[in-house]
Symmetry: C2
Subunit: 302 residues, 2 copies
């Protein structure tokens, strides 16, 4: 301890989400040595005050060398737009830099999670990797030479590659985006259709017992229990996921592909059918760091 601070230099990683804000103190081995979660307040000013306040508080206890933040939304020219957080072309990192009194770096939350997986998770051995996050939509991050690639600021929007010309309309204004076919939302859509069409299946029974609602766990559990309908659903889904992965392999020839997001917890039940449709000798792994990826990645922004 020196003046009440620990001697070791650490970094702060902030993972800003719609529900809560996660703060982590990350040491030089990329271990999270301290962690806090606070509810995300309403409004842009309250968000910045909350983040700045917590960072200043942390800096009273730790010798902090840098602060990085992962944010939802689109970043262009260092301004973030995330309507659900009341951020409209808002210079979040500049405002925080001024409030905290130390330089704050910012990137997209999916990019930060990808950087975390690249630095300390599934892709630790890969210099170039593509991390694809299967969630409500499809996000992800492009890691080149162990750094986030974001182009002019909003690169890495991996869910908006078109895989079906004139396909399903997407909120981005385009049609046929990857995320309309390969998100966890899409998996649940395929499963619901098949459960309704096959009312005697194990999948349909879980669907009915749960008030006509399915989640990812139920689909993979059904397959584990031998349900051929669930197997078919996962196969249809894997085909769409693999379609995008194969495109990303042609584009990037990466060292590795990492799948993250809640359904990546299904492990090889999800990954094996995807692997079966990838004709390349490139490893496909599930993310390892789960919720910590964003904090570790944000702390590594520079």
């Amino acid at each position: 301890m020196l003046n009440g601070k620990t001697l070791n230099k650490v970094r702060i990683g902030v993972d800003l989400g719609g529900t809560d804000i996660k703060f982590g103190v990350v040491d030089s081995d990329n271990n999270i040595v301290d962690k806090w979660i606070v509810p995300t307040p309403k409004g842009c000013d309250n968000i910045t005050d909350t983040i700045a306040g917590k960072c200043r508080e942390i800096m009273q206890s730790y010798d902090v060398t840098s602060v990085g933040i992962g944010t939802p939304g689109l970043i262009r020219h260092n301004r973030v737009t995330a309507f659900n957080l009341d951020l409209n072309a808002f210079p979040l990192s500049d405002v925080l830099t001024e409030k905290i009194g130390t330089p704050v770096k910012m990137s997209n939350d999916a990019n930060c999670a990808a950087l975390g997986e690249s630095a300390e998770g599934a892709a630790k051995e890969a210099s170039n990797c593509i991390v694809i996050t299967l969630g409500t939509g499809v996000g992800g991050g492009i890691i080149i030479d162990n750094r986030i690639y974001e182009g002019a600021g909003s690169g890495g929007e991996l869910g908006h590659m078109c895989i079906q010309h004139n396909g399903i309309p997407c909120s981005c204004g385009q049609k046929g985006c990857y995320e309309k076919y390969a998100s966890a939302t899409a998996l649940i859509r395929y499963a619901t259709e098949h459960a309704q069409a096959n009312p005697d299946s194990i999948l349909a029974k879980k669907y009915t017992a749960n008030g006509s609602k399915l989640n990812g766990l139920m689909i993979f559990d059904s397959e584990r229990e031998g349900c051929p309908v669930a197997k078919k659903v996962i196969d249809i889904y894997a085909d769409y996921v693999a379609c995008g992965i194969n495109s990303y392999i042609f584009i990037f020839d990466p060292d590795m592909i990492v799948i993250s997001g809640g359904i990546s917890n299904a492990g090889d039940l999800l990954l094996d059918p995807i692997r079966a449709k990838i004709p390349f000798d490139i490893p496909l792994k599930a993310a390892q760091l789960k919720n910590d990826a964003g904090i570790i990645g944000a702390s590594l922004l520079n």
Copy 2:
């Protein structure tokens, strides 16, 4: 002159093609100060002997600091496979390095052309750009921080992104590849179908007069002459080209998109309908260096 050599340091750029091999002497301002074209001989040994011989000859007249070569085919782990040139996982640059006695760098020919456009052509002002070559297939190159991105070696295969899940089968083994819909070959396919279906159109008359064959020039000439059928064909084609470009913008958020290949000579007749379908404020330009792009780009490999 010093010992018979010019004093200024120059680089050799070699553009290896199926028909001929182009050699250029490139100065520090990226001007091609000397140039030779020789027919491509048959067989791997003859190709390497021809390239090495010409480079050694050039090095007797010029103070050469580096040699770079652009080759067709797929490069992985510094070995090139281009069946039409009898190259099968062949360590072309290593063999040339030994034969010439100076380090030879190698990349894909489309990558070299992209690097040339980035260094001295349409994308000179852009650090990050995507060059899309519309030819028999669709090729291209990814330029990040003014350098070629090629991942483990074969990145930048921009024509094999899937834009139509389960679409037209491609020679790569996948279905629905961008190049099946956005190559010059595809444009001529759309035009041929429309000419046959509209025998009174200006386009159909050119088609018939040319022995039931169309080329890109005839299609754009027809539009210039007011042919609504040609206009519709170009619009259909532009929609597919833009579909891929929009995906690449979401993925890379580049500073610029450059279109190269023979049909880019149509200029705004081709580019304007594409631009109309791109909802982003990112410049779309035609390539400027034409056949010299590959030589200049190869000379810049490092």
